[in-house]
Point group: C2
């Protein structure tokens, strides 16, 4: 045993979350997927072929005409102005001064958690949560107060209020108002208003994860939740789904009084967001018609979504239900029978080389319903592959259903 | 008062480190420097004109021929192999599997602190420390056990052992063996060996910050401290001083048993290091003669160092002492008289538009000697500017010295 394991690490922390030999279900999946020729509906990858690659390449060349492009740099003021313009289009006008550029949306989440959560604190989430957000919380040994969600209408605001009225206290609420991950649901304007009221009344800060908020497929896009209480909410945005995740540029819109401390936390985390990436993004935004680019993405992703919903309807066992996601990258399919989708996932990879994420991977605690659900990504496969993959996944599901019925 | 300030934030944390209206001395300096035409010896910036800009631009173009360059991506295996090769040249051969690519050296430091330190834990540092590392520790409300350092020989290893023998316990020791920031000192092979022995004996993990370790100016470069106990030390490296900080690519070499947990912490921090940057760095390393490039950097930085030492000798008050730094970007000048260099700094900016960082900015606690010292960066100015700037800074110092003697 080396010197560190026995003393340097706090024993509690060591025992609680170090777990050196247990990869997360997501990691295990990733390993399986990357190990062979697997058709993946698992991850939330944008379509590589829809990235504005030539534009980014030209922007990089242009930016690299100056030596300063490789130097340390302050956050790009011009980039913040562009983001402010995007936020205005998004229905949440804000001053560039309230924007903090981050190393992707993930770092934005991590910084806000660092700001609001102390070790052993408690947080409020839905019962089903984006797993990489949960990873941020683990080192804090946080306890969870969970709120149920409805597949059609999203987070149960009345249940939230009930718990808060009972005196439950949290460092923050983590919420996705548009294109929920994993459920795909977006919440109504009246629910946004109510949620903002309750959060304000009970002084519960809100972290709004809007990673998918610019990709809405059905008509009018609602202003984000944060627009209903800019003074109590932390808005998280990202260029990952619009320009490309490998740039690692996201942003925060925060109440002004937290800017200084967040800048300090940001500097401690990685000095600043790669200023080469910042300059490239800025140059792209100046050269492109962003609205037209987003419209193009929306059109193609809508086509893939519809193709997936249609294929599920035709190939999955009768009784399977999906809600049409109006935003984001995921279809949440409920089999509505007693099939463990974790077992189904392993079988689908083995028999058909097809991957998805089982519903249980998103559950903060036990979640009986999620056990028979699948999160299916539609953004990263062509319609032809979606049709083929869902057909084969449907047939594995049917076989599994039949064999489980035989064994009853 | 908004909803968050009064409830969401833990009151203790709020009071201890939020300090919304107090910029750090470094931040205040940065604001001053960027506000006008200031000749800066303050920051640790590499020379922009020495970046291999055209190479980076060609690499970016080449990399961006593939759509995958903008997609999420696993850490680049090829990049890790290149880094392993560099580590071998550095005198610390290691398997690519023990390398974790990070968003600059700063993130590497933040991840290791996240791994080793619990809230309210204690850490071991020298009395004078790189301030942005201290920023990482603040949210943990860590207590400090400090060890003195000698300007000629570096960290006082005997004092360290004495304290550890007294039962002082720390989550880790933060150390710079080559090109200490701010002192410029590098420690001897025998001291490295002794330090490694003591750390192992008292089971004290070591974070070795080797940001400047590839830029050594006087003959033989020693293997890093980590080479003396790979199983108990965390080595932090960086491309910032070699290729360009705006890429934000650094790395860790860690004991194998911590790889999984560190990968998880890394994913939580920002998913992965900008894979565009990773691919560009990798492409550069494949196209360039890294050894020749580093030799070129070393030659020019050595010239600037010598120019600065010579100028200080000629223009600063008699009695000023400097140790010749064999590595890194800084000269630590001790005035050896009762002049507060914080006041000198303000006066130098006002009267001569020249900036440096006052010694007290690096002190973890009170530090009487550091109060009359200056950290002077020599990497970011041409020899002509160094001569001119040091001459003017010397004259402000002389004036201040004379006026303080008159008032005595």
């Amino acid at each position: 045993m080396g010197p560190i394991a026995s003393t340097g690490l706090k024993p509690g922390r060591d025992a609680d979350w170090k777990a050196p030999s247990a990869p997360s279900p997501m990691e295990a999946l990733l390993t399986l997927i990357s190990s062979g020729n697997v058709l993946s509906f698992a991850l939330g990858l944008p379509a590589s072929e829809l990235f504005p690659r030539e534009l980014v390449s030209e922007a990089a060349t242009r930016v690299l005409e100056s030596n300063q492009a490789l130097q340390y740099g302050s956050p790009q003021a011009r980039l913040k102005e562009h983001i402010a313009g995007m936020m205005s289009d998004r229905g949440y006008p804000c001053s560039p001064d309230r924007i903090l550029v981050t190393t992707g949306a993930q770092q934005a989440l991590a910084l806000i958690v660092r700001l609001l959560l102390g070790e052993g604190g408690s947080v409020v989430t839905e019962e089903l949560v984006y797993p990489t957000f949960i990873q941020v919380l683990k080192p804090y040994k946080a306890s969870f107060m969970t709120v149920p969600s409805d597949l059609r209408t999203g987070i149960d605001v009345e249940a939230l209020e009930e718990r808060l009225a009972q005196g439950v206290h949290g460092a923050f609420l983590y919420a996705i108002a548009d294109g929920h991950n994993p459920l795909g649901v977006s919440i109504s304007p009246s629910k946004r208003r109510r949620l903002a009221q309750i959060a304000r009344q009970y002084r519960l800060p809100v972290i709004e994860d809007d990673a998918y908020g610019f990709l809405c497929y059905d008509g009018k896009r609602e202003p984000p939740l944060s627009a209903y209480d800019p003074d109590g909410m932390f808005y998280v945005g990202s260029f990952s789904k619009i320009l490309g995740p490998s740039l690692r540029v996201g942003w925060l819109v925060v109440p002004e009084r937290f800017l200084r401390i967040l800048s300090t936390l940001k500097e401690a985390a990685d000095i600043n967001t790669a200023s080469l990436s910042q300059r490239i993004v800025c140059e792209c935004l100046e050269r492109m018609d962003l609205g037209a680019h987003i419209s193009g993405l929306v059109e193609e992703y809508r086509r893939r979504r519809d193709c997936m919903l249609d294929a599920i309807r035709r190939h999955f066992p009768p009784g399977t239900t999906c809600i049409t996601p109006s935003c984001g990258f995921f279809v949440w399919a409920s089999l509505n029978v007693d099939i463990d989708t974790q077992a189904l996932c392993m079988r689908a990879i083995e028999e058909e080389r097809i991957a998805f994420v089982p519903g249980a991977s998103f559950a903060v605690g036990e979640h009986a319903v999620a056990r028979s659900c699948l999160r299916l990504n539609f953004s990263n496969c062509s319609p032809a592959k979606i049709e083929d993959g869902i057909k084969r996944l449907g047939s594995v599901t049917m076989r599994m259903l039949q064999s489980s019925r035989r064994s009853e």
